[in-house]
Symmetry: C2
Subunit: 217 residues, 2 copies
């Protein structure tokens, strides 16, 4: 039981990852039997995982017809971004209010020269990794579990789209500039300004998505 329980936890994590990376592309059917065999887990476990994925909005289940990865259209992505803008903004504000300004110094430095290099050289994986680091640190500092869970769910759905936005022409440069503005406000301990800047950043990202919609979705 201990063994299969580990497998079950791994299952959910792996499925989330595969969906986020479009290894299972939108519209792909997920078969209970195949996954059960692959992970050495009973079908009941797979079904349990499916339930979780469905609630997170990653898959859609139709009775007697199985589960498939949800296909996002622009309107749904817009909805996600509307919510994301508010929640990420709140997250940054709380993080600033609940931490010492000095604690962001290392990130300010990281987003200086090092990030500049990543952008110039087109090292998007590194760029994204450091962005993710900033996000994680902010969530921890915000000290709000409910918010953290919701951002987690939102990010599962938005991750792949964010990856596609970043490689758009000029987007990484603009994004870096905006993140520096956010960090500057955080470093000064100006919570309201940090929130404002973060929201501008996300809105700008959404505008970018809208402009290049046909290339992304």
């Amino acid at each position: 039981m201990q063994r299969s329980r580990r497998n079950a936890v791994a299952l959910l994590k792996v499925l989330r990852e595969r969906i986020a990376r479009r290894e299972y592309p939108p519209g792909a059917k997920l078969l209970e039997n195949d996954l059960a065999r692959e992970f050495g887990v009973s079908r009941a476990r797979v079904r349990e995982a499916f339930g979780a994925l469905e609630q997170r909005g990653l898959i859609r289940r139709i009775p007697n017809r199985g589960a498939e990865v949800v296909r996002l259209d622009l309107s749904q992505v817009s909805e996600i971004y509307e919510v994301r803008e508010m929640l990420e903004g709140l997250c940054v504000r709380l993080a600033v209010q609940r931490s010492k300004p000095e604690s962001w110094q290392d990130l300010v430095r990281l987003f200086g020269k090092p990030m500049e290099r990543h952008v110039k050289r087109g090292e998007f994986e590194d760029y994204i990794a450091k962005l993710e680091l900033l996000r994680r640190r902010t969530i921890v500092a915000a000290r709000n579990r409910v918010l953290a869970d919701m951002l987690d769910s939102i990010n599962d759905r938005a991750r792949e789209i964010m990856r596609r936005i970043i490689i758009l022409p000029g987007r990484a440069e603009a994004g870096l500039k905006q993140h520096r503005a956010v960090l500057a406000a955080m470093r000064k301990g100006d919570a309201a300004a940090a929130e404002r800047r973060r929201r501008e950043n996300i809105r700008s990202s959404r505008d970018c998505l809208r402009r290049y919609e046909s290339f992304i979705l």
Copy 2:
């Protein structure tokens, strides 16, 4: 199968309701067998429902030890209110942006004399019902499914607390005044003002909770 499927949907709804109404008080243990028998459903169904409840943060499951209703302390309620303030604010703003100002006229009237009567007479059930009506209408008008789902989840956790806040001395009067301000802005089509007022309303409600914490939690 059709029969038990209906039962399964009912199960989740009823469990949410019972937890919200503190029929199952915080800390209460939920037994799979008992519920399966009561609803004429297999244990697998109950487990599925438990999974959903757990993800919504209504129950906590410990391996091999079962499920129990989560016990909220002030810090968790604060977290919920922080998120709720942002999301309800967003909801009102979107609702105003995406509907005609005239469409709120009936609610403006409803929140005039009729609500005044409810407050004066201490008819809290009616007061709450109409508040819920306003909320529903706003969510529909906002046209954002992701947001709607999150508000639904948040409200499940906050409902009973809201009921307890409303009966606090002077709270219903203050709340009504604030809701009128929100509706006035909505009626004028001023989305930003409506959002601001709604957030003020929720913050005020949270302040009230803080002051009377010991009587509520």
